[in-house]
Amino acid sequence: MDFNTLIFLGFFAGTAVVYYALPKVLKPLFLLSASYCFYLYKPENARLVTLLISATVITWCSGLAIAASRKLWVRRLFLCIAALTCGGILFFYKYFNFFNSVLWGERATLLDLSAPLGLSYFTFQSLSYTLDIYQKKLRPEKNFLYYALFVSFFPCIFTGPIERAGHLLPQFHRPRRFSYQGVSGGAFRMLWGYVKKMVIADNLDVFISAVYGSANQMDGPMLAAASLLFSLRLYMDFSGACDIAIGSARVLGYDLLENFNAPFAATTFADLWRRWHMSLTGWFRDYIYFPLGGSRCAPARHYANLLLVFVVSGLWHGAAWGYLLWGLSCGLVQLIGRFTLPARQRIARHNLLYRSSLFQLWWQRSIVYILFSLCFIFFACALYGADTAVVYGGLLTGWADFFREPSLFAGTAAGLGLGGVTGLILLLLTPIILTVEGQGRVSDWIRRQNWALRWTLYYGLAAALLFFGAFGQSAFIYQQY
């Protein structure tokens, strides 16, 4: 079931009403049933539901066994079982064909595999649970019902955030009572997410897919515009999905981890990555980067760790060279940033323009955004099936014509879908969204506003969704990972 369908809204409203009407003891069971209904709604998931169940049962049992045993080899054995289960499922369904073709080239026999939705999310969640128990950060969950609900909780199973057992499981134990503030805040967060996804991301996608769809016929300015907008589109799409997930969980009385923290307000590349897809970067930090030594080791090792985390992060998104190169490029930009930091700081001290802090802020934000967008060209090419070399090569062409006759560019861009409504959205709605998100959590922000502004915003967002939302057109990008 996709978040951006009426059937989901109906399902969710029904679930929420029944959930609050049920006695406390039945609520977890009902939520678990609802989560499985949500998951099984898609026929391709129904065929592979055993994977979800296996991952749940094996990691739960492993967790109990690890906690119960004092012997290191037993603990390691069960950790390996859990890791092999989750990693094996993930590897087989997501990476087998890719690595098979990398190793054997054209001689490789590719299997007809279609991964169930949410595979990367529920395997990471259940694996992190076992790892936390192994590292004695967490006590095992005795009640299988709660654990199964943690792994399959429907708001976050398809698009994240990747939850941590230590954060979510205790919430299942505490009784959830109806809270007007919680429900209204959650509903607003959902509306916010829908606007980001269906009004901004999907309308931008018309232009971006048109440009990337025929990248070899596009010149530099058009490719640059599409590439710069792709970062925005991806953010609106993914953070929109997370807003809906977090909002819907909030309506039910649960808090999910935040996944974004105004990433485009970052002034350094490293800062942007601390604000982007925080649940995944946190997962890699805790379970890969730190165990490898993190930054508390020799510089070379530290840089290698950093690079490795980014490469793995790229592969997490998809088994394709494009994603791998995207991860690598982000890691390299990060490393270059570290290498050049002292030199840049020295230059900055003599930069007269930096005396204006406002200029410095926006200059740095712009540079970070451009670097981020340049890296994401690999990602966009993998997503739209465009040739990376063509796009990067094309970026340098056609600028003379652009400066000679910018109106021609504007006309072509408008013809490709960047005019009219999309232009209006870019100029009016997007700055509002980004500004509000810079103030903190939107559900908290809206509560601080007076009645009139609040309701104006409710109506404005609903009207934007109704008039300009793209209904039934595309699924969320991060749903496929």
């Binding site: 009426l6 007007y180 009207a463 008039f467 939302g469 209904f471």
Partner: protein
């Protein structure tokens, strides 16, 4: 110190307050979905609720009392459907006409009332006639008088008598729901249809369509220009056939100005292609059709509608040609006698004849072609609804059995 538990009344009051607050906030949001649904229903670019856009445009103009251009391109059956749907229930015409294009010359003047609308459609078969009236009943807009121009093929029990344009689904509904004849008809699933009202994508399409059509000429869903507009200038001087505001048809000036030779030439041509008028192989009356004819008239009477039967004449040449092949059209020649007997037996007012020769004052110049006579010709034998009703009330049924149409080759005149 342990907090004292709130009393039941206080808890109840708190819950009631919370419930009221939630309902109030939800009510504040209601205008958005209400606006969406109302707008989608009103604009309805795909014609899911209001009918297709082009016929809707025609009906809107007709209901405004305007004549409409481009009759030849109209989907007449849709127009009948939408006319009955959109007609103001407080302004239902007293009298309506049903039948094929042969009834389309019945105007307000012929009916002798301003409260008249002609529901006739080109090529109408028995299903069209019955469903046109059924639509009126379904919409609760029942006329007091129904002028039924009975075409001979109405009593012909063959596939050849049926027109592919007729709404067979609606006819099956009529037979099953009204006359109680099992046709295997199943109520269509309305849920899917009404889902469109809650579909924001349909709302957006309607919005786009609405703004597109606010400026300039009307277009349909695919952007094609809707060719139906109000008639400008003298209706009688139009170069194309128009639909009058009373539902009748006014042929283009060239067609109406045909010389007697041209009319005869048309009649000759039509006598050669007469079979195509649902008449091929019509050698005997259909038993079921005769029963359906009676059932329909009785049904109309139960709805408070008085039926007046009208037999509009064929061109003398065409009629005589049929007489020369009487054995091929024996069914056709039985129709008039059967209807006359039926009218006599049931006291149903009946005017006219298929045979032009037995009608006083009908000349060749009273025809546009072989099968369509003029309004002036109709006025020669049909006195209008008021006199017809009066005569029926008094039990006078003129021309019912006193007139007898020619049915044998021996009775034909030479041309």
């Amino acid at each position: 110190m342990k907090r004292k538990k709130d009393s039941f009344g206080l808890r109840l009051a708190r819950r009631l307050f919370l419930g009221t607050k939630i309902l109030f906030k939800l009510a504040l949001l209601l205008p958005i979905p209400i606006f969406m649904v109302a707008f989608s229903y009103k604009v309805d670019r795909s014609g899911l609720f209001q009918g297709d856009l082009a016929p809707r445009q025609v009906v809107d103009l007709l209901l405004e009392g305007k004549d409409v251009t481009n009759f030849e391109q109209m989907d007449e059956r849709q127009i009948v459907r939408l006319y009955t749907q959109n007609l103001d229930p407080d302004n239902v015409p007293i009298s309506m006409g049903v039948g094929s294009s042969r009834v389309l010359q019945v105007t307000r003047e012929v009916a002798d009332t301003d409260s008249f609308f002609n529901l006739g459609v080109t090529g109408a078969d028995v299903r069209d006639v019955m469903t046109s009236y059924y639509l009126c009943v379904k919409e609760g807009k029942i006329p007091q008088v129904l002028i039924w121009s009975v075409d001979p093929w109405v009593l012909y029990g063959s596939e050849a008598a049926l027109d592919s344009r007729a709404d067979s689904e609606l006819y099956n509904e009529f037979l099953q729901q009204v006359l109680g004849i099992d046709t295997g008809y199943e109520e269509p699933d309305q849920v899917e249809l009404w889902k469109a009202l809650a579909d924001p994508a349909y709302f957006q399409g309607n919005m786009e369509y609405y703004f597109r059509n606010r400026q300039g000429a009307l277009t349909d869903d695919s952007g094609q220009l809707i060719p139906f507009t109000e008639v400008q200038g003298d209706p009688c001087q139009q170069s194309a056939t128009i639909k009058r505001s009373d539902g009748s048809v006014l042929y283009d000036v060239a067609f109406r100005s045909h010389t007697s030779d041209q009319i005869l030439s048309d009649a000759i041509a039509q006598s050669e292609t007469f079979n195509s008028l649902h008449m091929e192989g019509f050698t005997e009356l259909g038993e079921t059709e005769c029963r359906a004819f009676d059932a329909f008239i009785r049904y109309a009477e139960t709805q408070g509608t008085r039926v007046i039967l009208l037999l509009t004449p064929f061109h003398p040449f065409l009629y005589d040609t049929l007489l020369s092949r009487a054995e091929n059209y024996s069914g056709f020649f039985q129709v008039e006698n059967w209807i006359r007997q039926y009218a006599e037996d049931t006291g149903t007012p009946l005017y006219g004849s298929y045979d032009p020769l037995i009608l006083d004052g009908i000349k060749e110049s009273d025809f546009y072609d072989g099968v369509h006579c003029t309004s002036e010709a109709l006025e020669k034998f049909f006195p209008g609804i008021w006199q017809a009703l009066e005569e029926a009330y008094k039990g006078i049924t003129p021309h019912v059995l006193s007139l007898k149409n020619r049915t044998t080759a021996a009775e034909r005149i030479s041309w």
